[in-house]
């Protein structure tokens, strides 16, 4: 827990008590404070929630270590790079660095912003909800006109036999790793599982992903093809349509028993990570009588109101989409409604993102398949295009595969030039409704493009057209290429595929 003293008097009535100071609670309370009201955060650990402990900020760090390890391995001894001995590099050693510095740095930064810079009151300790206007913390009762439940989520455990064995982990255990498994099986191939796979493999850990249905099912087919091929090239084994029956072992994990293509198969391993999704932490609110949904989420309307007047729920505890941006905006929305505004959440066009070290994948809007089902005339702007060289030799350029030269940026540029044509450095795709000339989807794998998607979502809502994009001022060389490629075809009255 933070070692800060409470700055929260208990002889006042707060406008709202935020139970939990993670993404949604922290942003909601800061916003409410800005609106001139008096919020209280009750937090039992650190402000900022799981972000800096084991999710956003943590994963960004790990993805970067993995990217560096992977590039070092690929670049070693090529061009100007020295020979690099990666034997014995340790993933868990990187975790120690994060524990020693990262986790604390971010926790302190978020506390600094919230308490020092913005002056929000925090009562440190486990919240006990007495009624919808009263929370008890360390025996002290705090009163509020409204209550906002912002208690987040936890890893979903699908109830596999053997999941209590030692070395069965979830994403929460990742930063606490103190040794390096030789072989790890990831149960679940969603974006968490695929991300983790790409983070372990570059450290010499043998990685197998077992997915019940389809990995990254919401993503565009071209992105999925790229990601799967890329991961396989990096030695990651991916199995879809697999039913995991049991985690094997006496006291510690020794393997995973699963049905693959109708046949039982044993995957030997010394660690398992369950990455099946998230379960909202709604239990704390049950005494209030709020309606709880089938996924254990607190049921809310688009004003973030629960079934009990004066009680709001925001962030992961209110159920999917489990995105940082949504959690924060749900907090804001609750704050506005507490002030009597009639604010509603809008979940349209939210970017999605995952790490696939050394790259990252980002998307917004429709996949090509979805777009073709919805619109009559769809065109795509896409790179790379055409055939790949059958055999790629490091540091050699092969003529005739010019459609493979993009996209590039940052260290992916190097990857492209050291392995020209291998399509290891990314791809991009914009999906356009050719009749209206509006973009309906953007997809990218690479490095340095994701921030663009924050703005593209907004612009798409406004009906962003190829012709509008062609008027932007690009910072060149950029990672996403959407502007310059759109500009090349924007003159055409009748848009056609550019791929």
């Amino acid at each position: 827990m933070s070692n800060a003293a409470s700055n929260a008097p208990n002889n006042v009535e707060y406008d709202a008590i935020f139970v939990g100071g993670g993404a949604s609670g922290r942003f909601g309370s800061c916003f409410l404070q800005g609106l001139g009201k008096k919020p209280l955060i009750v937090e039992m650990d650190h402000l900022g929630g799981e972000c800096h402990k084991c999710r956003c900020a943590f994963e960004n760090f790990v993805a970067d270590q993995a990217a560096m390890a992977d590039c070092l391995r690929l670049y070693s001894g090529k061009s100007w790079y020295p020979e690099i001995n990666l034997k014995g590099i340790s993933h868990s050693r990187a975790m120690k660095t994060y524990r020693d510095v990262g986790s604390r740095a971010f926790a302190d930064a978020m506390e600094f912003q919230t308490v020092k810079q913005l002056g929000v009151a925090v009562a440190w300790g486990q919240a006990k909800i007495i009624d919808k206007n009263t929370v008890e913390v360390n025996g002290v009762k705090y009163k509020g006109k409204n209550m906002v439940i912002a208690t987040g989520s936890r890893p979903m455990m699908p109830g596999i036999k053997g999941d209590k064995l030692e070395n069965v982990w979830t994403y929460r255990d990742h930063p606490n790793m103190t040794w390096d498994p030789k072989k790890i099986v990831l149960v679940g191939g969603g974006k968490i599982g695929m991300g983790k796979a790409s983070m372990f493999a570059p450290f010499g850990i043998d990685v197998t992903v077992l997915e019940k249905y389809t990995c990254m099912p919401k993503w565009d087919a071209d992105v999925r093809e790229f990601v799967f091929r890329n991961m396989k090239m990096r030695g990651i084994k991916i199995h879809e349509g697999v039913e995991v029956k049991e985690i094997l072992g006496k006291t510690k994990v020794e393997g995973v028993k699963a049905i693959v293509d109708g046949k039982e198969q044993i995957f030997e391993c010394d660690a398992v990570m369950i990455t099946s999704g998230l379960t909202p932490n709604s239990e704390i609110a049950k005494p209030l009588g709020v309606e709880i949904g089938r996924g254990n989420e607190i049921v809310v309307n688009d004003k973030m109101e629960t079934s009990v007047p004066g009680v709001y729920a925001v962030g992961d505890v209110a159920g999917p989409p489990f995105f940082m941006a949504c959690a924060r905006k749900e907090g804001m929305t609750a704050a506005k409604n507490i002030c009597g505004e009639n604010a509603v959440m809008d979940y349209e066009l939210i970017p999605d993102h995952t790490y696939i070290s050394p790259l990252e994948a980002t998307m917004i809007g429709l996949t090509e398949t979805e777009a073709r089902a919805k619109y009559k005339n769809v065109i795509c702007i896409k790179v790379p295009v055409g055939e790949r060289p059958p055999e790629v030799k490091p540091e050699e350029y092969q003529e005739g595969y010019a459609g493979n030269a993009l996209p590039v940026c940052g260290r992916m540029h190097t990857l492209n030039l050291l392995y020209f044509g291998a399509n290891m450095n990314g791809m991009l795709k914009a999906v356009v409704n050719a009749d209206t000339r509006e973009y309906v989807g953007f997809h990218h794998v690479g490095d340095g493009a994701k921030v663009a998607f924050q703005y593209l979502g907004y612009l798409m809502k406004k009906g962003w057209k190829v012709d509008d994009m062609a008027q932007l001022n690009e910072v060149f060389l950029n990672a996403e290429h959407f502007i310059q490629l759109s500009r090349l075809i924007a003159g055409k009255k009748k848009l056609t595929d550019f791929k």
Copy 2:
């Protein structure tokens, strides 16, 4: 020169002949073709101009090599990183990789787009302008209704005594380096010079920057302070207010004589790079009688028309701002006007960017100083804030410097955690007119943020407010932090500094 055969018949009258197929000529001709007209490009080398030879794409590659070399040096033996022996790493070896693969890959990609994908006609060879409707290439005459001069620029040579000595270079010579200087002096501390400095130093080359006036004069004071401190930390010596008198040496460079603080000083070195700016290549158009300006640029109006009807000039040959985005849009603008539209160029709010490996700096709009001169109430959103730890030890966290924990992203995240508080990993600053709540400037040093500026420029023109930004959906962890930091204060009726 490209080894492609000409696909340009000479028995037709083209709608426009583009003399030069660089950024402006290539995009202008592609756009004109899209508009249903028939353009011809005359190009003596490769499509894409200097971008892939020695400017945008090339510098992106070099900056990345420098970033990696710098990080390897800093990270060696720390946390999970192996000990890395960087003795004997060679900058010129990296140049060879670019020459072997990069230059060709991009040239072929741009030709593929222009000729194969978009079907634009190209006559390969040196253009000789006969009159405003006739260009001769390899003895063949081509006729056009309009002419667009797009011949780019070349390094400006300030006429320093000794500048003909061997190993006096410009940016054009950078990719052709075949040996590694021990000490290099960069004459000029604009964004080209500062960028080059940051690219050479990580390879163990001793770098001195000599600037006549002020380095990076257009940039925000906080950015300049960060960049200078960062570069000095990396061993780069920067001298401002220096008059370079002579480059010394018998046949090869041996030193630079300059006046520093009123005193003559000799800077020993074995190479000099002149980075004083650009001179437009307008000479080819003189036979047309177009007006030439004092900077050797072809004078144009905002429709890209020269003083001779039917003759346009676009890109660097038409003078500053010498930005890729502007060059391309000038090409588009000329194409539209050739079709009878009344299109004008808009140079407002164009992002600027430079590499300062392992980081990059990007800006748009006003500096804080400019904003305070223009508006009554200006506030800033800024990170890092507060004191820095007096002594930074690798892999150690020091409490009490929480304002230094951001910004982070990609490999800068690692830099931050290995050297917490040293402020080596970047900074950000948004400048806001507090009365209107509109952003008037954005400034960033870091990694992975630059693409945001492409969209911010557009949004700023529309009057983008703190309240609008607070509604975006951020991809978290992002590099720029503008959305989440704005959201934290957006509730306030009266905006105050967040720093």
